[in-house]
């Protein structure tokens, strides 16, 4: 085994140098910015502008999706290149998956797997080049976790589908260029055999977007009122939506993995070194040390799970239960860390600090404990998936769907 992310071959060390120089040049102006988290309401136009531009620049070189084929706008590179890009961006507090507010990181692999050649040539390049933003639009008010009961209908009418229905808790607070939407293509068809996925232009007539104020920031309700979508935009075929959904969900459920570590502990240690109570730094306090130790160990395990999942994905050997296990554990750790922060820094853990990146802002961490337990599926459905994959109480183990 080799855990070293920096044991570069000659070729890779040349590439790393290139990336470092490029970032030095192109991250200029970012020093003053503090990255906001996904779904945040704190991000401003300046930050948004910078991030969208950065996405275009990275995308233009194929670096936003380094391992995707060149003909679709990817970099045609190997996993080692991707690791270089991830680790170098990590120094700037940013990851490839979250350069700007879009879920292309999930949608692109799904389209790559399920799209026709023509669809890939049409839809992928703008996405991989970082030019368009995509929302994932699955959840409905009645269905909740049970996305297969999808009531948003897409009925074929000549060269188009006509879409009617409502989705909730989707997107960001900037309008989408595309909505990657789960629809019901056959209202009278049997469960799991009546679904489809439409890649819907955000500016189509009949779409109304209504912001929802959630604990983590802005999400939206989306209403479709006789929205006409070209039949060409149905990906994966009519009534095959459930298979497509499996690829999508596996990626969303933690299966994509990650190489960067959560920088929270470093910031906590720094804070506790600088903050004194009765003339003694918090870092000297025994129970503070105990809590930081727990935080550190748990986040380390989260990080190792994420790296394991990343590796499994890129060697194309899907880990049987890694996605669900990782996501469940990560969320429970975040919940516990929120309480630890409250115990360590008292009221200060409840006050936003705009001078740091939001993901290490204590108030954000505290709030995201309960606030991010459910995005993309609940703790309970994660454990359900885990049980099926391990084959608890059943003779056969459900297989992890293949992702890209």
């Amino acid at each position: 085994m080799d855990f070293n992310l920096q044991a570069d071959s000659r070729e890779i060390s040349v590439f790393r140098k290139e990336v470092q120089e490029w970032l030095q040049e192109n991250m200029r102006g970012a020093e003053e910015l503090r990255w906001s988290a996904t779904w945040s309401t704190r991000e401003n136009e300046e930050e948004y502008g910078f991030r969208r531009k950065l996405a275009r620049k990275l995308g233009g070189r194929g670096w936003l999706f380094p391992m995707f084929p060149v003909e679709y706008g990817g970099g045609g590179l190997a996993i080692d290149h991707q690791l270089v890009l991830e680790s170098e961006l990590d120094r700037y507090g940013i990851s490839l998956a979250a350069v700007f507010y879009t879920l292309a990181r999930i949608v692109a692999p799904v389209i790559l797997k399920w799209g026709t050649e023509e669809q890939k040539r049409n839809f992928l390049p703008p996405m991989l080049r970082g030019e368009v933003s995509v929302w994932q639009v699955l959840t409905e008010p009645q269905g909740g976790s049970d996305i297969a009961t999808c009531r948003t209908k897409a009925i074929r009418d000549g060269d188009h589908y006509v879409v009617n229905g409502q989705k909730v808790m989707v997107g960001y607070h900037h309008p989408p260029d595309f909505l990657w939407t789960l629809v019901c293509t056959d209202p009278s068809g049997p469960r799991h055999e009546n679904l489809g996925w439409l890649y819907i232009p955000g500016n189509s007539d009949g779409i109304t977007i209504q912001p929802m104020r959630l604990m983590m920031g802005i999400k939206n309700a989306v209403f479709f009122d006789n929205v006409r979508v070209p039949a060409f935009n149905l990906v994966g075929g009519e009534n095959n939506g459930w298979s497509v959904a499996n690829t999508h969900l596996e990626l969303e459920h933690g299966g994509e993995g990650r190489v960067g570590a959560d920088p929270l502990v470093e910031r906590v240690v720094e804070y506790c070194r600088e903050t004194r109570v009765a003339a003694t730094p918090l870092l000297e306090d025994t129970s503070v040390r105990d809590m930081i130790a727990d935080m550190m160990i748990e986040l380390h395990v989260v990080h190792l799970f994420a790296r394991r999942n990343f590796w499994h994905r890129y060697v194309r050997e899907p880990h049987p239960y890694g996605g669900a296990q990782f996501r469940y554990y990560q969320r429970m750790v975040r919940l516990r860390n929120g309480e630890r922060l409250q115990q360590i820094m008292g009221y200060h853990a409840l006050v936003p600090d705009l001078t740091v990146n939001e993901v290490v802002d204590f108030e954000y961490v505290v709030r995201s404990g309960p606030g991010m337990l459910h995005g993309g599926g609940t703790l309970d459905t994660d454990r359900l998936v885990f049980a099926r994959r391990v084959g608890l109480g059943r003779p056969t183990k459900e297989k992890a769907p293949e992702t890209i």
Binding site: R213, V277, Q342, G346, H348, L350, V351, G369, P370, G371
Partner: protein, 377 residues
């Protein structure tokens, strides 16, 4: 043994529940939290008219001379809201501080005003936001020939915006802790609301504020003892408020498991959802019984110090955990600021900090039971 409420207590409970239903139904409270309007003077006056301020204060000072348990029963009901506003912070803690620390003359002028709601007296204790205890008092109190000067910043004061006066803990030149009554309108006092995942918290600055010598409560040096005595009686009532909040969350969460249908069945049929509800009930009942046992101790003269710290630790932890488990049951819709759970979440995070975190109270519980060698207290 008799674990029932008395007839009078049941009457109090009903009155408070009716009040909440009429004046502050859940959706109204959600709106208040949304607009951060946590202090509503009208509502406060109405609550005062019902006699809920200074309930435990002797009648001769304008109170109702009730038992602690009587008072707690009312606050448990108010916690269902959670009804915001300084009913506890002034009507219980502020009043008890005056009762425990003030001279007879001060009591005669101050307490009737606090009990009628005319004055809102808020304790400003710790300077920073991390620590809770005598060391956390840093604001300085200096004496000139004819008056006192108060200088310092209390960074997190709950219900500060509603105050007409503060009882400010400060350090004298000789390093002792004194409590000083400061009028909100005194030159040099400024109040700045705090933004964040909390409610009703503000920073209060005392910028070289001149106060008459007569505004000292008790002698210089008696400050922390007065605070301890007042807190010992006040905290269990705050705990009862948190018990009520937990009960409310348990009730609406259990109801949601009956009405929310996913995968063709009410979610309450899923064992995982049941498990979350079991956790909620354990936290709720732990908080309830630790709180009421402590109240009983206070009412019957049984030593209660360790129990009070235990109750604050258990009840604040419970409220926080009950919210988290309820979030697990409600999932997405429960994180919408329009949902009643969000007002509770914000309140639970605030009360987790208010007057000391669970960890700090656990330490004080241990110190009360097993004093450390060489401990100062």
């Amino acid at each position: 043994m008799d674990l029932r409420l008395t007839k009078t207590q049941n009457m109090f409970k009903r009155a408070a529940a009716d009040f909440l239903k009429a004046e502050a139904p859940s959706h109204t409270i959600t709106e208040w939290f949304g607009s951060k309007a946590a202090f509503l003077p009208d509502l406060y006056r109405k609550a005062a008219a019902l006699g809920w301020l200074g309930m435990v204060i002797p009648e001769r000072y304008g109170g109702a001379s009730t038992s602690f348990t009587d008072c707690a029963v009312v606050f448990e009901e108010l916690g269902h809201g959670p009804l915001p506003g300084p009913l506890f912070s002034s009507g219980v803690l502020g009043a008890l501080l005056v009762l425990e620390g003030a001279s007879e003359e001060q009591k005669k002028t101050l307490l009737p005003a606090v009990c009628s709601g005319k004055s809102i007296v808020i304790a400003a204790v710790a300077d920073g936001g991390v620590d809770w205890g005598p060391e956390s008092v840093e604001t300085r109190l200096t004496r000139t020939t004819d008056h006192l000067v108060l200088d310092g910043t209390k960074r997190f004061v709950y219900d500060a915006e509603a105050a007409t006066a503060f009882i400010c803990a400060a350090r004298t030149e000789s390093g002792e802790i004194a409590l000083v009554l400061v009028n909100r309108e005194s030159p040099g006092v400024s109040i700045m609301p705090k933004a964040g995942f909390m409610v009703s918290v503000a920073e209060v600055r005392f910028d070289k504020v001149r106060v008459p010598v007569s505004s000292l409560l008790g002698g210089a040096g008696a400050g922390w003892q007065i605070l301890d005595r007042a807190l010992e009686k006040a905290l269990p009532i705050l705990c009862a408020y948190q018990v009520g909040a937990c009960q409310e969350i348990f009730d609406f969460t259990a109801e949601y498991t009956r009405t929310r249908v996913v995968f063709g069945q009410p979610i309450g049929r899923f064992q995982r959802v049941q498990d979350h509800c079991v956790e909620i009930s354990i936290h709720l009942d732990a908080a309830r019984w630790v709180t009421y046992e402590t109240l009983w101790k206070l009412d019957s003269g049984v030593p209660a110090t360790a129990g009070v710290h235990e109750a604050k630790a258990v009840a604040s932890e419970a409220y926080y955990q009950v919210c988290n488990f309820s979030h697990m049951v409600h999932a997405g819709p429960g994180t919408d600021y329009g949902h009643p759970l969000m007002a509770h979440s914000v309140m639970a995070h605030t009360l987790y900090q208010y007057l000391g975190t669970p960890l700090q109270h656990k330490r004080r519980m241990m110190d009360a039971l097993y004093p450390r060698a060489g401990s100062r207290e």
